[in-house]
Symmetry: C2
DNA sequence: ATGAAAGCGCTAACAC
DNA sequence: GTGTTAGCGCTTTCAT
């Protein structure tokens, strides 16, 4: 199949290529007859608009870049799923990049987006993003930038997050109301605001219900099932008193439950466990896992809609950045059903 | 930040823009001094190559399009994860499209890819792709097309799949060797080769071990936890004799286990259950779920590598298409441990 | 080792 | 309602 351009269509119909271009773009000044003739010929010749040429000329690509740590984490693939749907419905394409939690990769992805002249960038930063010239450059070039979940607050750009503080508070409060008193929190050694906010929710809930905060009950490690097990082992070995665990994330919670059961400790009777993320498996394990839902797909849809709304006006960075905060949802299941 | 082009750099250095272009592309005929001066000036002025212009002129975009049914299915997001990594390492970007199992959406995605002049397309077809002019058009335009997992064999394009027949056979054989004799198969009402192949593996395994095939033991429904439950209910209500279930997919297997346990039937003692897909939750449920692993990330890496290898030569469609078939992996866990 | 010039396929301002 | 014209920012061939 030969490559066919608007010139070929024009030649075929004895009109100029600019008329063809207008007809294809449904320009109001073109007669219906011409439009139909053009469309028919275009179809017959197998014409496909060349978006590359169109973008070069118009300065708009109708492409937005999305950078996430990893698609292999269901949280992110789920958000991207939401972003993708909304953006496609509105005529945008998605360029995808995974940072794999590496600052270098993230920087490279953004460089590619900039070179590709994307019309906007949606990102969730890596856990090691301490410097962020690559993000400030986006702003400087006046390319719309939005964050979801993992943000850089200093940057003053629009974002969609969930209220992690409230999520941490709710999880802890739920355990307290169920009568648990010595509540362990398994956190991350990674220094992300979303994690410290959950921790803050935990400590505030303890304070609110007049329970003492005990540093011995707080653990920090990598987000994995393995680390959940490690914490339980450490607690038992040191004979620390505890009757509940609020894990930063469901896989950690899962590991903790496994290890508790392995030691003959019943869940939720002797120890209650609650996670965070509402991973799919939580509803299927035994006991089913109480957790905090983060409204992932909605988060993707919200950030896409926010982009669509804000990118309408040229002065994307002039107003105070809009920060949408979604509400966490408490999912009560068996693991806290005392 | 003003938009800066190679002309700006040229003006700054009193050389022509074509020398700048060559320097930036590390052309061998340019002196090291010039290259360094150009690179320094480019950096100082904040130059970013315009890939749109470059693509228009060169005819290559270094972008490949990826269409999958849904990123919210971990199988697909995991494969895309693999594709993405390999492609980025080789200087390609990924345009992403979800078909949501809709032929119309799939067609639209491919139209966008074609208009965007992608250098190749990697796809996994929807369950309703019975007509496929949109795919033949890709071939006609000589754009490299590759399938993974869900293919259209008639199309004669390279692909990466796993041996579903063997997977079905292995799952069934495993149950038989564990002493199960009346094995139910829960299949899909959807008419995809990957599903009928698993069924064929099932029937062949029965025949191989001299077990009778009983149409009453085969169910067809939508892939969901719910349908797994429905099947168990139907079996019990009709008082059909059975002692094992091979489910087409893990969520179905999960639903079946739940319903068996709800009826006081022990797993794996009274009934053995095996799934297919190796979803993350399988390792965490009680009992842990035996299943067939599909090597998802590897599948993505393989299809990306196949693209890189084949797209090197112009005559992508001339040779017999290379079809890589990965081996399924049997994951033995508690749900079949009799 | 560098310059000159053409043109990729389109959009859009300006004519008539 | 349609034609003319001028680029968008590069790559690439042909000179020198």
């Amino acid at each position: 199949m030969q490559k066919v351009t608007i010139h070929d269509i024009a030649r075929e119909l004895n009109i100029t290529f600019s008329t063809v271009a207008r007809a294809l773009n449904d320009h109001p000044a073109i007669s219906v007859t011409t439009k139909e003739a053009v469309r028919e010929t275009a179809k017959r010749l197998g014409y496909r608009q060349n978006k590359v040429a169109s973008s070069l000329r118009s300065g708009r690509t109708n492409i937005i870049g999305v950078v996430v740590p990893s698609l292999d984490v269901s949280f992110f693939s789920s958000v991207v799923h939401g972003i993708e749907r909304v953006m496609h419905e509105n005529g945008y394409s998605i360029l995808l990049y995974q940072s794999n939690e590496s600052l270098k990769q993230e920087t490279k992805g953004i460089a590619t987006f900039l070179a590709s002249r994307v019309d906007g960038i949606i990102a969730s930063v890596t856990a090691e993003t301490f410097q962020y010239e690559h993000y400030t450059e986006i702003k400087k070039r006046n390319v719309p930038l939005l964050f979801f979940d993992r943000t850089l607050d200093e940057l003053q750009v629009p974002s969609v997050t969930i209220n992690d503080y409230k999520g941490g508070f709710m999880a802890t409060e739920h355990l307290i109301r169920k009568g648990y008193k010595r509540i362990v929190h398994i956190s991350s050694e990674r220094n992300l605001p979303i994690f410290s906010e959950r921790l803050r929710g935990y400590t505030d809930a303890l304070a609110y219900y007049d329970l003492p905060f005990d540093e011995n009950l707080v653990f920090r490690g990598n987000i994995s099932m393995e680390y959940g097990k490690t914490c339980v082992d450490a607690l038992l070995e040191k004979q620390v008193q505890f009757d509940a665990i609020f894990a930063l994330e469901d896989y950690m919670a899962m590991g903790a439950i496994h290890q508790l059961l392995a030691h003959g400790i019943t869940v939720p009777d002797q120890v209650g466990v609650i996670g965070f993320a509402n991973e799919a498996f939580g509803a299927y394990i035994t006991p089913t896992l109480s957790t905090i839902d983060q409204q992932t797909v909605k988060m993707g849809e919200e950030v896409a809609n926010l982009f669509l709304k804000l990118s309408k006006n040229k002065k994307f960075y002039e107003a105070e950045p809009e920060r949408v905060v979604l509400e966490p949802l408490l999912m009560i299941r068996q693991s806290t059903a005392r």
